[in-house]
């Protein structure tokens, strides 16, 4: 414990030093830690759009700083410490793997607020936030099930964490509902952003007969691979990826962080910031569904849009029973809706999925 106090003293001294020039009118400093490059066209790009929206909204009342391509681990801890030392009041850490580093750094800087995306560990000065991407996956699954001719759907997954597994299950359930013959092949890329690896995965899936490619990785490489192969449809991930519309990209899930970021920055300014766990979906606008192109038959498009509106209005939940687990055991009884707790820790496939979650 003694060691700890020594470090805290050093940190406190630094906080006083930086506080000296932070008079009442100094801009609020907001930091962002990114796992990929801001130009990835997907996940990090959208977080950066959120940052720019904060700048546009608050003007000179805020100053934002960011660091891109930060590996998850010791380097992330340093990136956050650096921002806190340089006077950041609020720091958004935007990847699952930043969870332990965020908690560790937050403990050393009790006066700095932290917001960690997609994690589950909170503290007095650490909030978590995530989006219900599985709502968008349900719509993708519906379109995919309707449009596939080979009945083979390829899925480029990143890491076998609940968020990704939820997406696979949601897409599968809704594809299967409209097309009982549909089969999913999942490739685990073990990366959030690696264009070469993602392109290889897409090509392999297409060669094996998949004519729909879903991706839970951040680059546009799978879109390019599908465009090259022809006869394959894809969905934009995290960002609209509209440059690949109308084909292969027929729709997309868009992460819209801007409203949340603006709201949280405002809360710090007002002194009303509290540690919360936010999990918003299509309804509050955190998940957007990119325009469904004319490559999708009009009736399918209408159904997909109806589903989108029903989810947004809270009338339909993508995980509504009866749903069995892959091993045949009952997960949700008829009409039962999955609890957020179950969804947050989802580590199993639903019935009908082939293959195993890496373990």
């Amino acid at each position: 414990m003694k060691k700890r106090t020594l470090l805290l003293t050093g940190v406190a001294a630094a906080a006083i030093a930086t506080g000296a020039f932070a008079d009442g009118h100094a801009p609020l400093k907001v930091g962002f830690v990114y796992v990929g490059p801001v130009g990835d066209g997907g996940w990090t790009y959208e977080h950066d759009q959120g940052r720019l929206a904060v700048e546009a909204h608050f003007g000179d009342k805020v100053e934002t700083v960011f660091q891109e391509n930060v590996p998850e681990g010791a380097d992330a801890e340093r990136a956050m410490t650096q921002m806190a030392l340089q006077g950041a009041d609020l720091i958004f850490t935007t990847s699952f793997g930043y969870m332990d580093p965020t908690i560790a750094v937050a403990a050393k800087f009790p006066d700095v607020k932290f917001e960690h995306a997609t994690g589950y560990k909170r503290a007095d000065n650490v909030s978590t936030y995530s989006a219900r991407f599985y709502e968008g996956r349900a719509i993708q699954g519906h379109i995919a099930g309707k449009m596939t001719k080979t009945n083979k759907i390829g899925y480029i997954a990143s890491f076998p964490i609940p968020e990704v597994i939820r997406g696979i299950n949601s897409a599968y359930l809704h594809a299967k509902k409209v097309n009982p013959d549909v089969e999913f092949s999942v490739v685990w890329a073990y990366t959030w952003f690696d264009p070469a690896k993602e392109a290889d995965a897409a090509k392999a899936l297409i060669e094996n007969g998949a004519d729909v490619i879903l991706q839970h990785t951040d680059s546009t490489a799978p879109q390019a691979a599908a465009a090259e192969a022809g006869g394959v449809i894809t969905f934009g991930q995290a960002s609209d990826m509209g440059e690949y519309a109308p084909l292969p990209r027929v729709s997309s899930i868009i992460d819209n962080w801007a409203p949340y970021y603006i709201q949280r920055v405002q809360a710090v300014m007002d002194g009303t910031w509290e540690s919360v766990d936010t999990w918003d979906g299509i309804g509050p606008g955190m998940v957007g569904i990119g325009e469904i192109t004319d490559a999708v038959p009009a009736d399918v498009k209408a159904e997909a849009e109806a589903m989108r509106d029903a989810i947004a209005a809270g009338e339909y939940h993508p995980f509504t029973g009866p749903i069995n687990k892959q091993d045949g055991s009952v997960w949700l009884a008829d009409g039962e809706i999955a609890s957020d707790g179950d969804l947050a820790g989802m580590s199993f496939y639903v019935e009908g999925m082939t293959g195993e979650i890496p373990n």
Partner: protein
């Protein structure tokens, strides 16, 4: 007209001078690059090279320099011995991963027993063993079947990465982690934690091990027969054979030692700065250490300085990203320039620059 004329023997002066010239050239070319990006080059260079050591927050960055340089130096020292003898272990990254897995596995096997005097030393031995065994694969394949150690050791990195992923998701996964991948955090387990020896200084057992390795390598190379054999084999393999050096033993020694040191670096990292086995645990120390080894002229003291310099470009580069808004790619290009200029100016070690026409004989 400018010509290059081969020197009869490599120039000693230039061998020591080129790293310095390369650093200066990198600063100038990097400054031009930053200026094109619309940043003040002087401020950028100062942010990268000066502020981490002497700036306002140096009390934090100095420690971080050691955290970053420790594994680089430890791995590079091991690699340099092999490189000197013409034995090319390119797969230190894989040995680093295996050392981390072995070390963490031993620590986690004892969880939650508290017995630091037993567990931590065992983890150190296991870490070294993990790296050693992984390096023995290319070693034995080379001595038995004359395979190419560059290819085998490099490709084993990808195997090690797959094992790492499997460990994070399976055997070593935190049972209380709600299904998320990654092991328990070793830093929160008193008996296995490799925490800073003095808080805020960055100095952990891995950094201590790196310094010991520098001294050990220095003595080995200047005073021990093994060091002589290594240097002799590198300069003239034929002469070495006549002098009675057993090439197979030398290969196994160099690969085994560099593997063990890389494994140690991995173990200290996983129990300290990284804290846990996770899919993304490795961030390229094993590859960067190759640059460090050459930047340090394969000399122990040189490697010590090169490791610190490389760490400085990382720490300072990150600071420049956050405070000046320099893109990460510009920082990477800047680091690349360092190696580029080093290799380019190396020409001066072996060649003389002459102006004018070649004299006709």
């Amino acid at each position: 007209m400018i010509r290059l004329e081969k020197r009869p023997t490599p120039s000693q002066t230039w061998a020591y001078l080129t790293p310095l010239v390369a650093v200066v050239a990198t600063m100038i070319a990097g400054g031009v690059l930053f200026a094109f990006l619309g940043k003040d080059p002087i401020v950028a260079i100062r942010t990268i090279f000066w502020d981490p050591v002497f700036g306002e927050f140096a009390f934090y960055y100095r420690g971080q320099l050691l955290v970053k340089a420790g594994p680089l130096i430890l791995i590079a020292i091991g690699l340099s011995l092999g490189f000197k003898a013409g034995i090319w272990n390119i797969g230190a990254e894989g040995q680093y991963i295996m050392g981390a897995i072995f070390g963490a596995a031993v620590g986690l096997a004892f969880y939650p027993m508290e017995a630091r005097w037993l567990i931590f030393p065992l983890m150190i031995v296991a870490g070294a063993l993990g790296g050693f065994l992984w390096a023995m694969i290319p070693g034995i394949l080379k001595t038995r079947f004359n395979t190419n150690e560059i290819l085998v050791s490099l490709l084993l990195v990808y195997v090690a990465e797959s094992i790492l992923a499997s460990m994070s998701l399976g055997l070593l996964r935190n049972p209380e982690g709600a299904g998320f991948p990654g092991s328990r955090n070793l830093r929160q387990y008193e008996s296995a934690a490799n925490n800073e020896l003095i808080a805020g200084w960055g100095m952990h057992w891995g950094v201590v091990a790196a310094f010991i390795a520098v001294i050990f390598a220095y003595i080995l190379l200047s005073r021990h027969i093994m060091g002589f054999n290594i240097r002799l084999t590198g300069e003239s393999p034929r002469a070495a054979r006549f002098a009675g050096v057993n090439p197979n033993r030398l290969i196994l020694f160099c690969l085994g030692l560099s593997g063990a040191l890389a494994g140690l670096a991995g173990m200290f990292e996983v129990a300290g700065p990284a804290g846990q086995i996770s899919i993304d645990f490795n961030v390229g120390y094993g590859f960067t250490a190759i640059i460090v080894a050459f930047l340090g002229r394969l000399h122990p003291i040189g490697i010590l300085l090169a490791g610190l310099l490389m760490a400085l470009t990382y720490i300072g580069g990150e600071a420049a990203q956050a405070s000046l808004g320099l893109p990460a790619a510009a920082i990477q290009a800047f680091q690349g320039m360092l190696l580029f200029f080093l290799l380019a100016f190396d020409v001066l070690t072996n060649f003389k620059v002459r102006f004018g026409r070649e004299a006709t004989v």
